[in-house]
């Protein structure tokens, strides 16, 4: 009986360490990323709404609540949680303006073995800036292929495409999005 209890405690302790160490949570303070996605914003909302998103404001919503926002930022891991790369989801924060154009993407965290030469270099994120949600996001087409790391790059491109279209459907006016 004592042995059993000891094993149970050991198991619980290990799983706690595992949970604590595992990066299954989203970066709770992506302020620096948000500033990069919307350099002109003066304020950001909390992560809220359905689907979960940050709203970027050009004027303080406290003083002028009717002013339209600059755009939205959202985590791919919130939109498409089942999207996996080689080893787990790639955490990407995407910024999108009201016309369905990406203001940028920020790769916050990944556990991809070949991430250091595929999705982590700034050149990967940079190519999504200015892309429309109507683009194809096809690796080898409008997204650069990285040989030997295609699995990671494909997953990241799919995550960005699918999550920005998801947010567009929910929050944008289709008339405002250029065909």
């Amino acid at each position: 009986m004592k042995k059993l209890a000891a094993i149970a405690i050991l198991l619980a302790a290990t799983s706690l360490v595992v949970l604590a160490a595992d990066r299954i949570f989203t970066n709770p303070k992506p302020d620096a990323h948000l500033k990069k996605l919307f350099p002109n914003a003066v304020a950001f909302s909390k992560l809220e709404g359905n689907p979960l998103h940050f709203t970027a404001y050009a004027v303080d919503p406290q003083s002028n609540p009717s002013a339209p926002p600059l755009g939205f930022a959202f985590w791919t891991t919130d939109m498409v949680p089942l999207e996996h790369g080689y080893h787990g989801p790639i955490h990407i924060l995407v910024g999108m303006d009201l016309t369905g154009v990406l203001t940028g993407v920020e790769v916050d965290y990944d556990s991809e073995p070949y991430g250091y030469f595929s999705v982590e270099p700034p050149e990967f994120a940079a190519q999504f800036k200015g892309k429309s949600i109507r683009d194809a996001y096809r690796v080898g087409g409008d997204v650069d292929a990285v040989s030997r790391a295609s699995l990671s790059v494909n997953s990241a491109a799919r995550a960005i495409r699918d999550s920005s279209r998801m947010v567009a459907r929910a929050l944008l006016n289709p008339e405002a999005v250029k065909r």
Binding site: V18, D22, H84, G85, Y86, Y114, Y116, F117, S155, P174
Partner: protein
């Protein structure tokens, strides 16, 4: 009555003409067909299937030439071109059940599935001819002069084989605590096929390859945690092990010929054997294998033995009388 018809017709109208989707994205609302999924993956799937088929033919024929062609393909295609290698990261994935998405990565699953299935059936076949790094060191061994080679004493070899199990335990333990996948670079050299690393790492790799010049397949035999994992599987599951003759109890030819230290007396150590075919080629060779020599020369041996017995018996017979 009338309102009912109107409702019905409205319902039909709605069914016939669903509200047009204002977005019209190319992929999201249209259901993905098998064609959509397979088309971008077809070439890789075909090339990998060809490679696997080739590896299996070389294995079943026990052909030296086909094996070296397979090894060259492993280095070129599986290594430098695609970087398909089973890695310690895949062992980590068992720990936290983190796998790529099946439908988008059919080639990877074919590769991983073949590795697992072949290990269950034959043992560490993967290490012997699929792994690009193992193939590279075996090709080095074939090209480099034989007199450079240092044969590790049996006792040391046997103990050193345990290092890989220690390393496997240590690195999986480290991963469970830290969840740092990037540790893989320090326990396996497979990143070399990715061609993107810091100078210091290439220096380490150079040292390892230099050591491999003198001690063949050094990494695979003593250090590889993936090899250790496959070895653990094959030690208990190998369905089609190498056959042995009853003469193998005393004969040492195969034990001496084995480059992998996988034969100890009458036994094949399944966790070390990579199914390189060397002993099986001897085993089938009627000129070399003691089993066949005994069978083919038995009539002659018996004749000589009889003659000797007669010679011995002849002079003693008169003395006794």
């Amino acid at each position: 009555m009338l309102p009912a018809i109107r409702l019905l017709s409205l319902g039909l109208f709605a069914l016939q003409q669903p509200e047009a989707d204002p977005w019209g994205f190319d992929d999201v609302q249209s259901v993905e067909t098998w064609g959509d999924i397979l088309r971008p993956q077809a070439l890789d799937l075909i090339l990998l299937s060809i490679f696997i088929a080739f590896a299996l033919v070389s294995f079943s024929r026990k052909s030296v030439r086909l094996k070296y062609i397979t090894l060259a393909m492993a280095v070129g295609y599986m290594g430098f071109y695609k970087s398909y290698l089973i890695s310690i990261v895949n062992i980590f994935a068992i720990v936290d059940w983190n796998w790529p998405i099946l439908k988008y990565n059919l080639t990877w699953y074919l590769f991983a599935g073949f590795t697992l299935a072949s290990t269950l059936v034959w043992g560490r076949l993967y290490c012997g001819r699929i792994c690009a790094f193992g193939a590279l060191t075996q090709l080095m061994d074939a090209v480099l002069p034989k007199h450079w080679r240092i044969d590790v004493p049996k006792g040391i070899e046997r103990r050193a084989a345990w290092i890989k199990y220690g390393l496997l335990t240590a690195v999986v333990g480290y991963y469970i605590v830290t969840r740092n996948t990037m540790v893989y670079r320090f326990v396996e050299p497979f990143w070399m096929f990715g061609l993107s690393e810091k100078m210091v790492m290439w220096f380490g790799l150079g040292t390892l390859l230099l050591a491999t010049v003198f001690v063949r397949n050094l990494y695979c035999r003593f250090a590889c945690p993936v090899g250790a994992s496959l070895g653990l599987i094959s030690a208990v599951t190998t369905l089609r092990p190498i056959k042995r003759w009853s003469e193998c109890k005393t004969c040492k030819i195969c034990e001496k010929a084995c480059e992998w230290g996988a034969i100890r007396g009458p036994q094949i150590v399944k966790s070390e054997c990579v199914r390189c075919d060397d002993c099986e080629r001897i085993y089938e060779d009627e000129q070399k294998c003691v089993h066949w020599i005994i069978i083919t020369r038995r009539p002659e041996v018996e004749r000589r033995a009889a003659a000797r017995a007669r010679r011995l018996a002849a002079p003693t017979a008169p003395a006794a009388s």
